[in-house]
């Protein structure tokens, strides 16, 4: 049976693209195979592990179960789009490095994309909300605490709470000195 193809027009990492895709092709396949954006990882391919997460029109999606043709007219961001022109890391990427939130690195791009959405939301998440917001991602190496700490510290810095970010301890808990200065 003949396959059906369509042309997709969208913006990927700030660049307008036009791409012919098989109508059954996933967005992961289009980004990896056609656009060579290999930060988008193929993990479970059932939408459970979060390794393929990309930002579409400001929200995180599992690109492995998102049809490429649905991307028509959409604005898509992958990890490659976060680095500066000279390859400089964004603050959330640097926080992952600083906090040791990386081991094998397979889950990292997906985690960073969701974290990017969180830290740019302008909202101060509670620890519980932050853990829930990150729960669409599976990491078999780090045990999550370092990732949680990296995201929490970056979120606080984005909110201008630089001193508070430094009070986040190794368990990700903000340790206020007594008396609490940040209320």
């Amino acid at each position: 049976m003949a396959k059906q193809y369509k042309v997709v027009h969208c913006t990927v990492n700030g660049k307008e693209i036009e791409q012919v895709v098989d109508v059954r092709e996933s967005l992961t396949d289009m980004l990896r195979n056609d656009l060579h954006l290999t930060s988008v990882k193929k993990g479970c391919e059932v939408g459970e592990c979060g390794a393929c997460t990309v930002i579409i029109n400001g929200e995180g999606f599992n690109s492995c179960i998102y049809l490429a043709v649905w991307a028509e007219g959409k604005e898509i961001w992958t990890l490659e789009g976060l680095t500066g022109p000279g390859g400089e890391l964004s603050d959330i990427q640097q926080a992952f490095v600083d906090e040791g939130a990386i081991q094998c690195g397979f889950c990292t791009p997906g985690f960073i994309m969701t974290s990017w959405e969180i830290v740019n939301s302008g909202k101060e998440y509670t620890d519980d909300e932050l853990r829930k917001a990150l729960s669409g991602h599976l990491c078999r190496c780090t045990g999550y605490e370092n990732i949680f700490r990296a995201v929490k510290k970056t979120m606080l810095r984005h909110l201008g709470k630089f001193e508070e970010a430094e009070l986040v301890n190794s368990q990700g808990i903000t340790e206020y000195p007594d008396p609490m200065p940040f209320k």
């Binding site: 049976m1 003949a2 396959k3 059906q4 369509k6 109508v23 059954r24 996933s26 479970c44 391919e45 059932v46 939408g47 459970e48 592990c49 979060g50 997460t53 929200e59 995180g60 999606f61 599992n62 492995c64 179960i65 998102y66 049809l67 043709v69 649905w70 969701t114 829930k132 917001a133 729960s135 669409g136 991602h137 599976l138």
Partner: protein
């Protein structure tokens, strides 16, 4: 395997295009996943992503009508959606997946570990369907599962807002398939209990409802014994647990939910 994709612009176009060899694709979490037998069996996929008029949440006179293409995250974020339905939507732990999965898709997929069907069934949700003749009809959600409506498009789901309903879901991890999802609702007529048991199916626990309605003070031991010896329940040993485990889980969950509905501590 599906090789054609129709991007329907309207619910009518989608409904008219539905044939036995076609399948609807809503959010994509079920049809597009690796190993999906829906995509394997269908020749044509009918995408509902660009369909107008299938989103939106309207509240009116104690009822909430939810467009079939509303995502789980839409449910969680809406002020109009009752808490019991938000709780069921949050059983899907992944936010990225909640951004995709839709209420209509979750019902139509009829999964035996469905997130929403037990709660919607216990709440007596009403579905609006559109057939290939473009005639709309409204049916109770339980009726939808008798097989006569497979080719019809779900356009909206209506639920009562102020209903007492509680749910529980058991899975190894927040991301795992659940062995049991169960909901119980209560009104002046009595208690309603529905569940989804992995690899068994969507169940309406009529005997449990009768037992609780006949004797609200029934003991947990009696409920456990009743479910253990129930001949109508076709649970089996599999990787999700033994037959005995599943029956025990159904019994103690039913008892806990009933206690919760009565306002007692579990």
């Amino acid at each position: 395997m599906a090789t054609k994709l129709l991007m329907a612009k309207s619910p009518e176009e989608a409904a008219v295009s539905k044939t036995a060899s076609a399948a609807f694709v809503a959010g994509g979490t079920e049809v597009n996943r690796l190993g999906s037998d829906i995509a394997e069996k269908a020749e044509t996929l009918i995408s509902l992503k660009k369909c107008s008029g299938l989103d939106g949440i309207e509240a009116d006179a104690g009822y909430v009508t939810i467009g079939a293409m509303c995502t789980f995250q839409d449910l969680v974020e809406s002020d109009k959606v009752p808490g019991w339905l938000k709780e069921a939507a949050l059983f899907m732990a992944s936010r990225t997946k909640r951004n995709m999965a839709t209420i209509g898709g979750n019902i139509a997929a009829r999964r035996s570990d469905s997130y929403l069907i037990p709660a919607l069934s216990a709440a007596g949700a009403v579905l609006e369907l559109l057939g290939s003749d473009t005639k709309a009809e409204r049916i109770g959600i339980v009726e939808y599962f008798d097989g006569a409506y497979d080719d019809k498009l779900i356009t909206s789901v209506t639920v009562e807002k102020d209903i007492r309903l509680v749910s529980k879901r058991y899975a190894n991890t927040a991301q795992s398939h659940a062995v049991l999802t169960m909901s119980a609702a209560m009104d002046e007529m009595g208690v309603y209990m529905n569940g989804a048991v992995k690899n068994v199916g969507l169940l309406h626990f009529c005997d449990l409802e009768k037992a609780f309605n006949d004797d609200p003070e029934i003991s947990e031991d009696k409920i456990i014994e009743m479910v253990r010896t129930c001949t109508g329940l076709e649970t089996a040993d599999d990787m999700f647990g033994s037959d005995a485990y599943k029956r025990y889980l159904i019994a103690v969950t039913a008892f806990d939910l009933f206690k919760q509905l009565k306002g007692k501590e579990v």
